[in-house]
């Protein structure tokens, strides 16, 4: 066996070009299905990790995938809004965390700053209990205590060079909408620890701050001193504040009912199975609100991905079949070219079985080498492209 291995190794190392061609053929044939397998696994695992512990997500009835992607990954189409009344309605089932997610923002660079990098990152309006639910910690600064304060994800801070005391500015949804509210200037008071999740790539604010961005809450000139005989006497132009400061904080207010304030999704961590079942029953057939079970939606989403993957698998089987035919051809040609060599070895006393074993061992070594390379390539791929990038690839 050792001599077979020795001769086979010597042959493949001497004929290195042939070995390289065969290795590359096998490598390409195997690395693509392996990488696809890895991507799907990572995709599924990453999805499930984000949904871990979240029993239900309430969202506007429509596309379940949009609710899932928006509330867990801050990606995809906006699924529509619910109201704070809906939030109040589900609280009896357990812990509920409202999220309002229609906005994006970017760093407000000072005029003298260099290396300016603009990126519109999602602004996540939520409550402090979101951070304890996700076990997100601060690496610098403090949590927001007043409206208009923000904490930023570690990767957002790194990419845009955001420090404590810098400002982030909300983006206008429609540049040509003159009735829209002004972009809100928000002070960064904290930077979050890296979580290797979509939370690293967003700006977090209190949910009320997002209602200010929306224009529902607003602050403007104090008109109380301009009331004459129960009539407010003022100019047509009322100056709205683009920034919330301790001086103007008390002037922010909204007109309307608190229960009508919008939310995009409500993450529900049900107390127990019974509460979850009752809640699901309550909302069955509701025309406006839907409750999705994130893990089930993920399974559905994965089944779609796997269906597409099945086509790829069929294609890969054909490719592998073709490569096997190619290798058989190479073996046959190789045997023909090596007839004289084998004849000499046979004359010298080598068994015919040993000769066959030598040829088999040569291809076996190439195969093993290709497989090892495949695994290394896939591992490198996994190391270089973390699952969240793969997810971005899919989620857009």
């Amino acid at each position: 066996m050792r001599s077979i291995l020795f001769l086979a190794y010597k042959y493949i190392s001497h004929n290195y070009l042939k070995t390289i061609v065969l290795t590359v053929c096998l490598l390409l044939t195997t690395v693509v299905p392996l990488a696809a397998y890895f991507i799907i696994n990572a995709y599924e695992q990453h999805f499930e990790e984000r949904a871990h512990g979240i029993t239900l997500i309430a969202g506007h009835r429509g596309n379940d995938y949009d609710i899932l992607l928006r509330s867990l990954y801050y990606k995809g189409a906006y699924p529509g809004s619910l109201s704070m009344q809906d939030f109040a309605d589900v609280q009896h089932a357990g812990q509920a965390i409202p999220m309002y997610l229609p906005f994006t923002g970017h760093k407000l660079y000072a005029a003298q700053e260099q290396n300016v990098y603009y990126e519109n990152v999602p602004i996540v309006g939520t409550r402090l209990d979101y951070f304890s639910m996700r076990n997100i910690k601060l690496t610098k600064g403090r949590w927001p205590v007043i409206w208009g304060e923000a904490v930023v994800g570690s990767q957002v801070a790194r990419r845009m060079n955001i420090r404590i005391g810098d400002f982030v500015l909300s983006d206008q949804k429609n540049l040509y909408d003159i009735t829209a509210s002004y972009p809100l200037k928000m002070k960064v008071v904290g930077i979050l620890q890296r979580t290797h999740s979509p939370d690293d790539d967003v700006i977090f604010v209190d949910i009320k701050t997002t209602w200010i961005i929306e224009g529902i809450f607003h602050g403007h000139d104090d008109l109380s001193d301009k009331v004459q005989k129960n009539v407010v006497v003022s100019k047509a132009k009322i100056h709205e504040y683009p920034e919330i400061t301790p001086q103007n904080l008390h002037l922010f207010h909204h007109h309307g009912k608190a229960k009508d304030l919008p939310v995009t999704a409500i993450l529900i961590l049900a107390k127990d199975h019974k509460s979850k079942t009752i809640l699901l029953g309550d909302y069955q057939g509701n025309e406006r609100v839907t409750l999705i079970q994130p893990l089930k939606v993920i399974t559905r989403l994965m089944s779609l991905v796997l269906r597409v993957h099945a086509f790829f698998e069929a294609y890969f089987v054909l490719v592998i079949f073709t490569v096997v035919l190619f290798i058989i051809l190479v073996v046959m040609l190789s045997l023909r070219l090596r007839t004289e060599e084998f004849s000499i070895l046979y004359k010298m006393g080598c068994r015919k079985q040993t000769l066959y074993a030598m040829v088999f061992m040569e291809f076996f070594l190439v195969f093993v080498f290709s497989m090892v390379l495949s695994v290394i390539c896939v591992a490198l791929f996994e190391w270089m492209i973390p699952p969240r990038y793969i997810l971005q690839l899919f989620a857009g």
């Binding site: 010597k10 190392s13 004289e340 060599e341 004359k347 080598c350």
Partner: protein
């Protein structure tokens, strides 16, 4: 001692070799001469146990090779026969040293210090000690044949069979190789096919083949 009696072998209906009786004593140097295609290589292949006779007996070094099983024949060849081929028959993926040690590799035999000493001796004797790490493609024709001779002798075979060992060499190199062979084969039985009649006087005996493949 090689004894052949009533030997008959043919490749289908095309060619036949028939031999009533041939005896070659141990240590004898025998030249086989005759036209191309008359059966010289076939006879040596039969003696070496590469081919099996259709009829007759072949007794080599007290082995009745015509009666040996495939496995026994293989072991017989590995242990008793050293081959020197016209085209050198070196494996291009092994270096000089590995080519010479090939009979041991094929037997999966452990390389002992004694074998290594023999290797060193042969490398020096055939004058390729400084090239022992080189691959055959970096050697001249003469050097390749020196390696082939060292390989044929490394395991101290009882019989060395050489099929036109100088056929691919120029006269100067041929002379050197012949001298080298003579120097190293010592008491070994040496059977050589040759077309070079100038070397026949070195041999103890010459076996001639006629055109019909029947030994004269």
């Amino acid at each position: 001692m090689i004894v052949i009696r009533d030997l008959s072998f043919s490749y289908g209906n095309d060619f036949a070799i028939e031999l009533t009786h041939l005896e070659i004593a141990s240590g004898q140097k025998v030249a086989f001469v005759g036209e191309s295609g008359c059966g010289k290589t076939t006879l040596l292949s039969l003696i070496a146990g590469v081919l099996r006779p259709h009829k007759g007996e072949i007794n080599v070094c007290e082995h009745k090779t015509h009666l040996l099983s495939e496995k026994e024949l293989r072991l017989f060849r590995l242990q008793n026969i050293g081959f020197v081929f016209q085209n050198f028959a070196l494996l291009d993926y092994l270096n000089v040293r590995e080519n010479i040690l090939l009979p041991f590799t094929l037997q999966s035999k452990k390389i002992t210090q004694q074998t290594l000493d023999r290797l060193e001796y042969l490398l020096s004797a055939v004058g390729i000690r400084d090239k022992n790490k080189q691959k055959p493609q970096h050697l001249s024709q003469g050097e390749k044949q020196r390696v082939a001779i060292a390989r044929a002798l490394i395991h101290k075979p009882s019989i060395v069979i050489a099929d036109e060992p100088t056929g691919n060499l120029d006269p100067k190199n041929s002379q050197k190789i012949m001298n080298l062979l003579w120097q190293e084969i010592d008491n070994t039985t040496f059977l050589m096919i040759t077309h070079d009649h100038s070397v026949l006087d070195k041999f103890d005996r010459t076996v001639r083949f006629d055109a019909k493949g029947i030994v004269a």
